[in-house]
Amino acid sequence: MRVKVISRNPSDYLRETKHDIHKVQRNYDPKLHPFAIPREYQRALNAVKLEKIFAKPFLGSLDGHSDVVQCLMKHPSSLSVLVSGAADGEIKIWNIAKRRCLKTITAHSGIVNGLCPSRGNDYFFSIGDGATIKQWKYASTSEEIRMVYEDDNDSDASEEETENDDNTPLNTIIGKSVMMGIDHHWEKPIMITCGESVQLWEESRSEPLQSLEWGVDTVYKVKFNPVETDLCVSAGSDRSLILYDIKMSKPLRKVIMALRSNSVCWNPMEAFNFTAASEDHDLYTFDMRKLSVPLQVHKDHVSAVIDVDYSPTGKEFVSGSYDKTIRIFPVDKGRSREVYHTKRMQRLTSVIWSYDSKYVLCGSDEMDIRIWKANASEKIGPRMFREEAAFRYQEKLKEKFSHHPEIGRISRHRHVPKHIRHSQQEKRAMLESRKRKEANRRAHSKPGTVPYKQERTKHIVTEEE
């Protein structure tokens, strides 16, 4: 008897070399794949669980300051350079990649209130001692330059921190009033300082160019718009956010909120949007053309938000709070997508998002600077082609099934420390009771006398022209 069998040439379906992948013959006819969706669902579930398993966002800390880290500053062109100022007047220049301090400057006798880089130049400015602006070089000697900018791993000589006595700034400007914050124009050699008054400075001049005033209250933070470079926004102690245009040398508009804003940051991709970190635990994203109603209220913190910084892609921002956590918010969402905390991290004073959009850095009360991944479970470093494809597929699956309860629950869940949890509960109870009270009032008063108010407009007091 002769038995007929299907015979194939092995070279058609076997790999050519040992490293080649197996060739898989597939028939994409959907009738042959009745369980495609259940399988994808299972994959999505696995992906979302894997995301949790690989979520290890903490990369390291920069230890070295001997007092509270007051402010952080990104180098405008070098990703590995970070400058930090502390409450004891010390400024440190770090190499993030090596996690090493490269230079320490005893800049001021008091708190370093603010730092800002000069665009396109090799120096930066710091303010402190009440009303002095000091100009510093990142690196003065060739040795330092090599250390700051070149990532050579072999140099043992530069292993130790150079204890340089070179504490003399390039330039010192003494102002007439107290300064609380400083920012540099994105194109021109102009700086803006805030404090008792908002003043505009030229880098090379010792007198302010102009003074922009509206009211007598202290202004804590001022930021230049990175896109429409002549605009800036400030946050003051009279609970106001003020817009300025330095071209017109006048403030433009003021919006007063229920509580003070601690910090502001412009969206680097959307010229007219900025976010304010408020004392009332929330963040408010505004369109500068319509200040009476914020675009979005971002809730999740349980204590005052101290600082905020945008991702350079303009899609997300990071906020640091007095509740000892960092949260990452999508610009168009009201809730955070991520929360970072460690046992030892205390009140946050400053957060920044690195210019390659991959890392988040934070300075806090307990003298450390911490480095975090912007995406907690992202693999750092080069990826193979198929690895990349798999990651992308997982991302898409998570997105596709994100509305299904099980997957949504797992991806949303974040463990938070006990104190956060308790204050969340407390806050919830408070809000509920407030809501109940309002509902009762509404129920027992003439219809229409207790109007419903949008959450977005609740915390805006007035817009002043």
């Binding site: 597939r26 994409y28 959907p30 794949h33 495609a36 969706i37 399988r39 994808e40 669902y41 994959r43 405008p76 062109s77 990703l79 994105w186 990175p226 896109v227 429409e228 605009l231 817009l243 245009d245 017109m248 006048k250 403030p251 433009l252 508009r253 680097p268 991709m269 959307e270 010229a271 007219f272 500068m288 053309r289 350079p312 892609t313 303009g314 899609k315 210019y355 390659d356 959009s357 991959k358 080069p382 494809a389 992308r392 597929y393 991302e395 898409k396 699956l397 596709k400 099934f401 994100s402 509305h403 299904h404 309860p405 099980e406 022209e465």
Partner: protein, 614 residues
Amino acid sequence: MKFKNKVLQSLNEPCSSEDTFLRDAEELGDDDDEFDARHSQLLESIAALNRRPKERRTEASATISEHNLNSTLGSKLKVHELIKTAKDSTDSIKKQFRKVEKKRLLNVPLVKPVVEKITRQTNYAVASKEVSKWNSLVEANRNADQLEFPLNEPSALRMDSSQEFVKRFKPSTDLEVEVHSLLSTSANNLSSERVLTEAEEKLLKAVSLEEARSRHKELQRMRALLSFQAAKMKRQKKIKSKTYHRLLKKDKLRKQLKEFEELKEKAPEEALKKLEELDKLRAMERASLKHKNTGKWAKQNLLRAKHDKTARDALSQQVELSKQLTQRQAVPEAMEEEKVENLFEKEVATETTKEEEKNYEPVDVNPWLRNAREALKAKQKADNKNNFSNSNNDLKGEQDGEELALDPNKFLILKSKNLKSSFPNLEENLAINEQAENMSEDDDDEQKQLIKEAFAEDDVINHFKEEKKDIIEKERPKDINLYLPGWGSWGGAGIQTNVEKQKAFTRKAPKSKRKDNNLGNVIISEKKDDVISKYMAKDLPFPFTNVSEFEKRVRNPIGPNWNSEIAFRSMTEPKVLTKMGKVIEPMSKEVLINYKIESEKKRLMKLEDIVSLE
């Protein structure tokens, strides 16, 4: 002080005070005799003078200026009048002054805060307008499927699409030119903007002229008719008059009745069908709430009925209609059929058939249709009679002789034919069955009968009731007994349980409110399906507007097992791409300019396409 006041007053009111002084002087010079009296009078008058200012005390500085100038000058002081007294040589100066005075004066400048506010407002408007130029780009970036950062990287590796490439192609060599000319002039070329090639169109044109003309005419006629009809319908649809619609309804009904009458004569079977339809309509009407007085209209009219006669009439009409519809119709006492003498019925009809007949009776109950139905039946009877008249005769002949004794061998063979009615004529069937058993006239009926007999014993309704009871019992929340024997009392063998304690420790379950409690023939399961609910989205997620859209999204797999490599790759593209170790600069004006240029190019391309299509 008083004196001063007086003096001031006298200045103020010159005539009155002067008079008194004069009078005083005259009186003094008149007589010595009356001196005392006069003196006393004087004293009195002085006293009076002293008293008077008390009454009308005025502030001097307010009324009189230091230089005794009148504060209420009639007109403004004019400069040219000031130099009136000057000599003639100053005429030109006077003219100049006059000219100056004719010109309008400047307004008083606004106060500083107001000025600042206005400048802020204008500046803000300018700045917002300036910033709005980013709108389109921001919008595009937000909606982009993919954004690659840094944005202003030069795209050196951009490839042309095939269309762009083809567009740019120009024949250069001789051969290419020749081929190109051949290709471009060919009649069989199919261009993108045309459905048919030139050659095909030519072929189509070759159809004879006459035919084309007639077809064209026909088409035109049809189109005109259609448009007329449409216009008519549109007009009619627009009419809002209630009376018109009522009349229309009546008219329709009348027409239908007429048609029905006609049908009854011509095609009784179709008429029966129609009857059933009408029956159904009536049932539907009965089932609806339209004729009940619960609708909005009825409630409104009820209010209005007090004063409005038409409303009252309308209501009463409706009430009547509802009465008519809801009245249970009495079964007519004896149907004609039973009266009709029928030989076969007498002989063959068994009790069962009679029963079945009765089962069919209620169909006839409809009072609207009774007349029609009776007429129909009479007709059928007549037909039957005709059919069997022959046999009747034959049988009658035999009856004479043998007195109703039937000969089983002598039977009549009838041709099978279609019944005129859809009603199963059971008598007839049975009769025929009896007569010719091998001729199965109506298989279906027999089948039904069979099934009925086979399941005669099954009590479906009771079964269902029991099942429902079981399910309700099973799904009912149960009482929980928390009583533990031995707690708080002696335990062990032979100890009686305390009934009261047991009662006290049972937690009563809440009474179940099932949806199917009052629904007889339905079981509604109220158990939540945990297995499925785990996989169900709670509500429609944001970007989707309907469920099917969302389901479609979920139903399409994106994995490499079910999609080709290219499709998989394109479907899993991330929304944001960044480059490792690259600084992402903020949005810059160059990006905006590039974007504007690109979008303009796209717009032009589109325009070109449209133009070429036309």
